[in-house]
């Protein structure tokens, strides 16, 4: 689990340090305070370990950097031509840095230089100061050179650097998934990627439970049905079927979150505004099942939101299920430095009694 995080030079964020991360972390703040940039920066860092994009495949996107370049508006941006958009104020002289500190004290910094198309790790080896896990090589950032090495060597150097926990750290960061609004429009692709594993472990039962209890859908089962040349996922009702595509938007958002969380293990899940399209009862059920998955699969969650309902529901359900939650209020100054204040669920409860909405924390 990550306990603290430092980001430099990524999009809205010139610098940002977050300490005291919990199992579930909720980020609030005004528009343009850096919440989305924070999730993106974590996802960008994961590209140092797995460059390929798995769930977001819109417009032929194949890698995480291309996705991050285009996520805010699919305009065909490319690394070669448009990479500067990833940098704070488009100034790419200094690298984008994301440093993680894990619960066992291990520190690891990833950097994205404008002359290397994916992030590399600040891990020294002989005359080199970085290691590249994508092309397996040692990088010298001063003369921008790379020496190809073997997979074994890179993993061995990383392993030594992080005190014998190289494989654990690699898995945690490489498996990070990003659930955002774009994913809703790619449900067919996400189904194809995830449904086989969900069925293999009979995790489809969780989806059915969620549909029944949170969305009043009398779901008995979920199956594939041929529609002309293609197969589509449908929910079996007592007397009919309904295509997953035809479910309400809230149920689809919830399905997406639960499908990803159910298959994630010992990693992090990034969720952008899970309250979108949700009635409070659907949101409550989604959070309840999500927190079960978080505990069962030892997943760390990073959630951005503008919803006070979500914060209150999450705190209440987390208390019942004994899950640690921290709320972080983000505030960005004119220079792009993001100041973060950590709130416990108790702080939120006292503020509420005092009449202060935590989303307006910048007033005090």
């Amino acid at each position: 689990m990550i306990t603290s995080l430092e980001i430099k030079n990524y999009r809205a964020i010139k610098s940002c340090k977050i300490e005291g991360l919990s199992r579930v972390n909720v980020f609030i703040g005004r528009n343009n305070s850096g919440k989305s940039s924070l999730l993106e920066a974590i996802y960008l860092a994961s590209a140092a370990f797995k460059f390929e994009e798995r769930l977001h495949k819109k417009d032929g996107i194949s890698d995480k950097i291309s996705y991050l370049l285009n996520r805010r508006g699919f305009r065909g941006l490319t690394w070669d031509r448009d990479r500067e958009v990833l940098w704070h104020m488009y100034k790419c002289e200094d690298p984008i840095e994301v440093e993680f500190v894990f619960c066992d004290g291990i520190k690891l910094k990833t950097k994205l230089f404008e002359w290397h198309e994916h992030p590399i790790l600040e891990v020294p080896y002989r005359d080199f100061d970085h290691m590249c896990l994508i092309h397996y090589g040692a990088v010298n950032s001063k003369n921008k050179s790379m020496m190809k090495t073997s997979t074994d060597l890179v993993m061995r150097v990383l392993d030594e650097f992080v005190g014998g926990r190289g494989e654990k750290v690699r898995r945690f960061l490489s498996d990070i998934e990003f659930i955002d609004a774009n994913l809703m429009r790619e449900i067919e692709h996400v189904e194809k990627i995830l449904w086989r594993d969900l069925l293999k472990y009979r995790l489809d039962k969780i989806i059915i439970r969620m549909l029944k209890s949170g969305y009043d859908v009398e779901a008995e089962d979920i199956t594939y049905v041929p529609y002309g040349e293609i197969f589509q996922l449908v929910v079996k009702l007592p007397d009919a079927i309904v295509r997953v595509d035809d479910l309400g938007d809230g149920a689809k958002v919830s399905m997406m979150i639960i499908m990803v969380a159910a298959l994630s293990k010992n990693t992090a899940v990034l969720i952008e505004k899970p309250e979108n399209h949700q009635h409070p009862s659907g949101l409550a059920k989604t959070l309840e099942i999500f927190l079960e998955m978080v505990m069962e699969n030892r997943v760390q969650a990073f959630i951005t939101t503008h919803s006070l309902e979500l914060i209150k529901l999450l705190n209440a359900i987390a208390r019942e299920k004994n899950v640690d939650v921290a709320i972080f209020f983000m505030e960005r100054d004119k220079a792009g430095n993001v100041n973060v204040r950590r709130l416990t669920p108790e702080n939120v409860s006292v503020l509420d009694r005092m009449g202060i909405d935590p989303r307006f924390l910048d007033i005090i």
């Binding site: 702080n347 009449g355 007033i363 005090i364």
Partner: protein, 149 residues
Amino acid sequence: MPIVQLKPHENAFYALARKIVKELEVIVLCEGRTDAEVLKAIIKKLELPDINMGVTDCEGVPAIREITSYIATLSQISKKIKVIGVIIDADEYDYEQRARSVMNSLKSSGVPVKELNAVDENLFDIKNGKFPILILVSGIRDLPLKAIL
């Protein structure tokens, strides 16, 4: 002087959402809703410097415990508040006893407070690392009629 009534939430929500008030420099914690109303009426009559003030109350709950939790939370997370004011009833205690009970409660909650200074007969000042806390103890200890009765 813009005064923001923090409770109920709706009173402050529109002012804050529309950025009519961007920052609160002073928060006054009142024991009861009436104290808050009286305070607002007095402030409107006085010519005070232009300071943004939030006013809230602990209506319906034990005041000292509630005020303590408010101050403890504010001292943890506030970055902009310059002064916290507390308006509390004397009840059957004398003014200093009542102010001291607020300070003792703050101390036991881990809020770093130093000594209690009397500014006036019923006004006290507690130094805190982050912001001064001013305690106004209101009420009349000995009702004039009490002696007659």
